[in-house]
Amino acid sequence: MFGQSILSLVIWVPILAGVAVLATGSDRNAALARWVALAGALLGLIVALPLVSDFNTATSSMQFVEKAAWIPAFNVHYHLGVDGISMPLILLNSFITVLVVIAGWQVIQDKVAQYMAAFLIMSGLINGVFAALDGILFYVFFEGMLIPLYLIVGVWGGPNRVYAAFKFFLYTLLGSLLMLVSMIYLYFQSGGSFDIQTWHATALGMTAQTLMFFAFLLAFGVKVPMWPVHTWLPDAHVEAPTGGSVVLAAITLKVGAYGFLRFILPILPDASHEFAWFVIMLSLIAVAYIGLVALVQADMKKLIAYSSIAHMGFVTLGFFMFNPMGVEGGLVQMISHGFVSAALFLCIGVMYDRLHSRQIKDYGGLVNRMPVFAAFFMLFAMANAGLPATSGFVGEFMVIMAAVKVNFWFAFVAATTLIFGAAYTLWMYKRVVFGSVTNPHVEDMHDVNAREILLLGVLAVCVLAMGLYPRPFTDVMHVSVVDLLAHVAQSKLP
């Protein structure tokens, strides 16, 4: 019945579910709010499933396209569609939303309805970001998602939440406003169109490309985040509630990386080639230097936040290798990082709910009290370190392989992550889980309950499945990526 409007459903079902959750009102109806939220999140995932089953992997053109006039005065359309690059991200987002709702089930006791609603509405908006094929529509979703995220960090966050929320919001707004000006410029250059695919074909001079390249780079680089505009992320991560950290790491960072593939590379191919060295340099700094920064963190959430930055450095590095292996590796890394970072933040959430501390030094000997949890945590830590047979390995390996083809030294620096990543993750794991119990409060900690096992178990299956058999993921992307690279190889100079 809804065959023609799957993408609209994927966007609007979570948003309307969020409104329904809000309608349950005050905390007296908290239980109802939770169940409505779960139903909404599950429904959101279910309506997204046809995207997989009906997806045609043989074509790189947009699928499930919907197009309607929205603001004819500016030639803006409600134009949706997905290809092999965006489809997996929509699915990842819909999936993570379900986990986030479950993760907040008992932890959040204050303003439950608003919390759940904020996540559902944000989920719908993020799906919109990945599905939008019109520049203004994209921008509306891209900016709109800041509002719920700002509230999530600020209302349910930690002690320094206000600072973190402001920093996060203003940082990302700075980037996107310059992007908006670029979009308006493109509108006139393309003869009055906000259509992203039209922009792909618009000829642009080198000066214009260069200026827009840096505007877009700032917009998406802040979101990714790339060194040196990454400083909002550790603050936001540390102060956000568990669910907020999960969404931040697993989804919103991907929005930035996605922007590279949808905007920067195809719209500005000449500038992308010209300044590839710049992005590669920033990516390598992120991989190597941020890896070292992660090593010295005393706060677990901060450590994982820095590790996210290093991992996202791999993604941008892969994109600017301009070969299918690199781009696909980057995409695989994005999805894998979505699972792994979500799982690690959930693990930290599990510990935090019991001890109310994120400091590594407050733990130790956890395995004695929480063996099941320790096993899960082990798997995710290994995945974060890039152990073969986990999803973390696949993407990193592909990107390093791609880098070797381009320049040995790129690959050399990138490969240091295998050492640093293992060092900071496993060292943290050792200090938290192994050893003898030194903190008396750890003695009182009980092992994971059924709800937490469900959460971690589902993610464990994903991490292992993707690590053992990544083929379905790369198959979905392959045609779109090859086509994108063929497009990027052509100069757009007039």
Binding site: S26, F74, K111, E143, G144, A165, L180, F188
Partner: protein, 484 residues
């Protein structure tokens, strides 16, 4: 056809103005005759007047410009649309102010009479096609506003604000008149249409003309509150009773837009290269000073006053484009601004009770705990002011930005967005106070049901027009397109 009917036809386009004038006079007399228990009569009659005027305007929508009263008065789609929005805005102001004024003993006929006289002034400004009518409308509006600010006689702050407003307003009017006289000297005409024709092929008297344009622009900038002629805005907004601030901050902006577009866009259209550079300076300074100074404010009314200055700077971006696209964008901007301004000053009104103002930032602390619904509406208004989608404020910014990029001023668009980033900070601070902080005052908020409904509609309109901006955008573009 008799002479009488010819003369009546001459007056037909001005029927709404005539109707409002008759009604104001009636209200003035009736209010003087009734005792205090029947004060609501003036309120009801004022709303009836607005409804009647709206009916008259909507019933005679013009499709093309019609000159009347010997070229003094014009009835075109632009004036019709703006007048309809003026009625709506004034009506909402009257409703929002009711409880506030009652508590302060200001709920009297004077307020309604002054408000309607101000409205009449605005209607004349909107429909003027001649320097004389423009000035007449402006002065009728200004004098009513001075009196409104001073209406709370025993408040020294309000009196001081009124005095400041009056002195600076008179100065601005003087500048405007001086500029007009220079232009008259060059063109030999006070009618905008004749002026445009006279200037079409250039003139030998360049120096006096530019001189006149400078004075006119300075006078307009005074009335708009653009930097560096903005000094009166924070003091008047802060000092006036909040109901008056609500009035000053909403409807007159719409009239001021019409005023500027009529003079610069219609009369001095051919001098666009002269006034564009001036407006660029005014716009950049307004956005800079307005946004940066707003950060330092602890009083919400003062903060919103500086925010108004920056918004007027943004609106000027559309006008300085000097194209139909630009005027349409500026019109969209000013209508959206009036909507947001109504909502946010209205919120200050609703939260103040028992004779106490609630215009300090702290008064908004923890509003989400006291009233989640009002907090949500204020959240929408603040994000809209900041220009964050999907609220309508974003499209307003988008519209004016694209009109400046169209004329090749990309740097101006970049400057504008950077200042709006600064602006986002203080709007976010309001959201922070409402949502992140705990209230220090937990008394429940009581609001009359009708005001609650209108406030809800006001807040939700910001979101609804944001999701579907096309109708309003099309109205603006059509009104400008059919009138120029």
């Amino acid at each position: 056809m008799s002479t009488a009917s010819i003369q009546f036809a001459q007056f037909a386009p001005a029927l709404p103005e005539i109707f409002v004038l008759v009604m104001v006079s009636l209200i003035l007399v009736i209010d003087a005759a009734v005792d205090d228990s029947k004060r609501y009569l003036a309120y009801v009659l004022s709303l009836v007047t607005l409804a009647g005027a709206a009916y008259l305007t909507a019933h005679n929508l013009s499709t093309m410009p019609v000159l009347a009263l010997g070229g003094l008065f014009i009835d075109d789609p632009l004036s019709d649309v703006l007048k309809l929005f003026l009625y709506l805005t004034v009506a909402v102001v009257l409703v929002y102010s009711r409880d506030y004024l009652t508590e302060r003993g200001l709920y009297k006929g004077e307020f309604f009479v002054l408000a309607l006289f101000a409205l009449l002034g605005m209607m004349v400004m909107v429909s003027a096609s001649h320097f004389l009518t423009l000035y007449l409308g402006l002065e009728l509006l200004s004098l009513s506003l001075y009196a409104m600010v001073a209406l709370q006689r025993d408040s020294s702050v309000a009196t001081e604000a009124a005095m400041k407003y009056f002195v600076l307003g008179a100065l601005a009017s003087g500048m405007l008149l001086y500029g007009m006289s220079m232009v008259y000297g060059v063109t030999g005409s006070l009618a905008l249409g004749d002026m445009a024709i006279a200037l079409q092929d250039g003139t030998d008297l360049r120096i006096p003309l530019v001189f006149g344009v400078v004075f006119i622009v300075a006078g307009l900038a005074f009335k708009l509150g653009a930097v560096p002629f903005h000094m009166w805005v924070p003091d008047v907004y802060h000092g006036a009773p909040t109901a008056m601030t609500l009035f000053i901050g909403s409807a007159p902006k719409i009239a001021a837009f019409a005023f500027v577009v009529r003079i610069l866009g219609q009369g001095l259209e051919s001098q666009v290269t002269e006034w564009r550079d001036m407006l660029v300076i005014l716009a950049v300074l307004s956005m800079a000073v307005g946004n940066i100074a707003a950060i330092a404010q602890t009083n919400l009314k003062r903060m919103l006053a500086y925010s108004t200055i920056s918004h007027m700077g943004f609106m000027l971006l559309g006008i300085l484009a000097g194209s139909q696209n630009g005027y349409g964008s500026a019109m969209f901007y000013v209508l959206v601004y009036a909507l947001m301004s109504l909502g946010s000053f209205g919120m200050i009104l609703l939260l103040s009770r028992g004779g106490f103002e609630s215009d300090r930032l702290e008064d908004f602390k923890g509003l989400n705990r006291r009233s989640p619904w009002l907090a949500f509406l204020m959240l929408l208004l603040m994000f809209s002011m900041a220009g964050v989608p999907p609220t309508v404020g974003f499209y307003a910014k988008l519209a004016v930005l694209q009109s400046v990029v169209e004329i090749g001023y990309v740097w101006l668009a970049v400057a504008a967005v950077l200042f709006s980033l600064v602006g986002a900070f203080y709007y976010l601070r309001i959201v922070k106070l409402m949502y992140f902080d705990t209230p220090h005052d937990t008394t429940p908020i009581t609001i009359s049901p009708d005001i609650r409904v209108i406030m809800s509609a006001n807040g939700l309109a910001v979101l609804a027009v944001g999701i579907l901006p096309q109708p309003l955008m099309a109205v603006c573009m059509h009104a400008i397109g059919a009138s120029f």
